[in-house]
């Protein structure tokens, strides 16, 4: 094709430009995932959007995962939470996933709204449902849940309704979340 610059390998390009950003590259079912270090996410997004040969110009989705296992811990994952940014290059017809691990005790990530303003609501939803804060977000109000709601429903330790069967090992955990009338 004429006029369109040669497509670059995103992993190699980001590694060359931001050597400290890429922690890992994962391939699964034809999808490429770059694991990005938390402080570098905005720089990586901007680089991927603006570089010739990459042009990931469209932000498809940001999702958050909670890796908490039923009996505590998060398996072999480095941190409890992860954010997955799904970028789309309309020029090269390909997608890329950026993954950022977020620790449980300091769940803050820089916002990518300066790069893609459409990230505004996607990040608000994650802040509301998963409790990951976005530093510098222009509108940090809750999105889905009522503004006086306690907790973040999409976390794995947040019960689904209040009908979990009570046993001696989990009774305390369940009672903690019961909506008793408060004094």
């Amino acid at each position: 094709m004429t006029g369109i610059p040669q497509a670059l390998d995103p992993a190699a390009a980001v590694r060359a430009a931001l050597p400290e950003a890429v922690q890992d590259v994962i391939e699964f079912r034809g999808e490429t995932t770059l694991v990005i270090a938390r402080p570098h996410i905005v720089a990586a997004c901007r680089f991927l959007r603006d570089t010739r040969g990459l042009v990931y110009n469209y932000l498809s989705d940001i999702s958050a995962v909670d890796y908490l296992e039923p009996y505590g811990g998060w398996g072999d994952r480095p941190e409890r939470f992860a954010l997955a940014y799904h970028l789309l290059s309309m020029l090269y017809f390909r997608r890329l996933r950026l993954k950022v691990y977020v620790p449980e005790d300091d769940p803050v990530v820089d916002t990518v709204t300066p790069v893609w303003p459409g990230a505004n609501w996607l990040e608000r939803e994650i802040a509301d449902m998963m409790g990951i804060r976005f530093a510098g977000h222009p509108d940090p109000r809750r999105l889905m849940m009522p503004e006086d709601w306690n907790g973040h429903p999409h976390r794995r330790d947040y019960p689904l309704g209040y009908e979990t069967i009570m046993f001696s090992f989990n009774v305390d955990e369940i009672m903690k979340h019961k909506p008793f009338a408060k004094e």
């Binding site: 999702s63 017809f93 303003p117 503004e147």
Partner: protein
């Protein structure tokens, strides 16, 4: 917040809210120079339960803050507690006007996660379902959009034709709206014999009806006055705000996932992608009208290509239940049947991402398995969600009556937005 007594309740609530809005509305709202007005959640033109907080200077919109969540039902959370097969039933309930697109996105994600094949015939049946869904959804959009702008008769005509499609869905899946017809590995059952004649009849009947809608609206001076030059989204703004589907194409960007990154054999069909020029309400209207004609084209080709006999779902018994006829003859079949309907199948502890072109735009599913029979995380990015998020950009400086036109033109479904 201060404890509200009956006397000062209103004052206390009001002060609590206004400080939260600092930076989001202009400074003039705090001096009372502009008016803050709630539109919704029960305004009929907000298509469900959408509340829009408007800052008005006279009749002009200074800023607009959409508030969603009234239809939040925790579907994504619910899915984490269900097997993959059961999740399909929940996907219908998100975008209740385009159930099959949501089924399709989820099933494609599951198929990718477990590496499951889909036979060719099942893919064609899926395309038929998806395109019928697209026409169905566009008909509801056209009817309600025209109704919002005062053209009542279009609404009645559109719902007459929609009834036809819902009857076909009933023949196909036993349900009119919440079809759950598309399942991992194929579709729920084979096409019943009475379906194809009904489809042929519909394909004869429907194109002249589109001409009727166009006669009523396309050159109607009142319609043009209300829609042209209203709610313009520049192409760059549309991309930056994650606008997709017909709303993006209305801005002049030729991007349709069915063409660009085909799934389910869409590359084998011959159809055009209608593109607008100005990105206003009128162009989005034209794009959707033309899309209905393209869907008819695809349906014709799919009906011609559909083999009379053949598998309608995968033969991989580890993921897809065996046909009932085998249950009386094969012990293996009984075991598979029992395992799949009780425990379900397991998927690896990995993540996949799938996006398809729904009637409203790009629906994408992020699916993360646990290694067991339930997903760790399902996230739907839905076009309604992104479009309502972009509403403040589209409405800046318009009149309050134009807001109704703009909300109609981006084709939102609040169930789709809130999930």
């Amino acid at each position: 917040m201060a404890i509200a007594t009956a006397k000062n309740e209103q004052v206390a609530r009001w002060e609590g809210n206004i400080e939260e809005l600092r930076g989001l509305v202009s400074e003039r709202a705090f001096t009372g120079e502009t008016m803050l007005l709630n539109m919704g959640p029960h305004h009929p033109s907000t298509h469900g339960v959408l509340r829009v907080l408007l800052e008005l200077d006279g009749e002009q919109i200074v800023s607009c803050l959409p508030d969603v969540g009234y239809l939040h039902t925790g579907i994504e959370k619910n899915m984490e507690h269900k097997t993959y097969e059961k999740c399909v039933t929940l996907t219908d309930r998100m975008d209740y006007l385009a159930p099959m697109s949501n089924n399709m996105a989820f099933c494609l994600a599951v198929e990718k996660l477990v590496d499951l094949d889909v036979p060719e015939r099942a893919q064609i049946i899926r395309v038929i379902g998806l395109e019928l869904t697209r026409i169905n959804s566009h008909l509801v959009w056209l009817g309600t959009h025209a109704l919002d702008l005062g053209a009542m008769s279009v609404f009645l005509y559109c719902f007459r034709e929609r009834e036809y499609i819902l009857e076909m869905f009933e023949i196909l899946s036993g349900q009119r709206m919440m079809t759950s017809y598309i399942r991992p590995g194929g579709v729920w059952r084979d096409i019943p014999p009475e379906f194809m004649p009904k489809l042929q009849q519909f394909l004869e009947y429907f194109p002249p009806r589109i001409d009727d809608y166009e006669k009523l609206l396309t050159n109607n001076p009142l319609w043009i006055d209300r829609t042209q030059g209203i709610g313009i989204i520049e192409p760059e703004t549309a991309l930056a705000w994650g606008v997709s589907g017909p709303s993006l194409r209305g801005s002049g960007i030729n991007w349709d996932l069915r063409k660009a990154m085909p799934y389910s054999g869409y590359e084998q069909y011959d159809f055009d992608v209608p593109v607008g020029e100005h990105g206003d309400v009128y162009d989005r209207f034209l794009v959707r009208i033309r899309e209905m004609r393209e869907s008819v084209k695809i349906l014709r080709q799919a009906a011609a290509r559909l083999p009379a006999k053949g598998p309608f779902r995968s033969n991989n018994r580890k993921f897809v239940p065996p046909p009932r006829s085998e249950l009386g003859q094969s012990m293996e079949a009984v075991i598979h049947h029992f395992k799949l309907w009780t425990e379900g199948f397991s998927a690896p502890d990995q993540e996949v991402f799938v996006a398809i072109e729904s009637p409203r735009g790009e629906v994408s599913v992020y699916l993360h398995g646990t290694g067991g029979n339930r997903p760790r995380r399902v996230h739907y990015k839905t076009p309604s969600f992104m479009h309502i998020g972009a509403l403040p950009v589209m409405t800046q400086g318009h009149l309050i009556a134009d807001l109704v036109a703009i909300i109609g033109s981006i084709d939102i479904v609040l169930g789709d937005c809130d999930r």
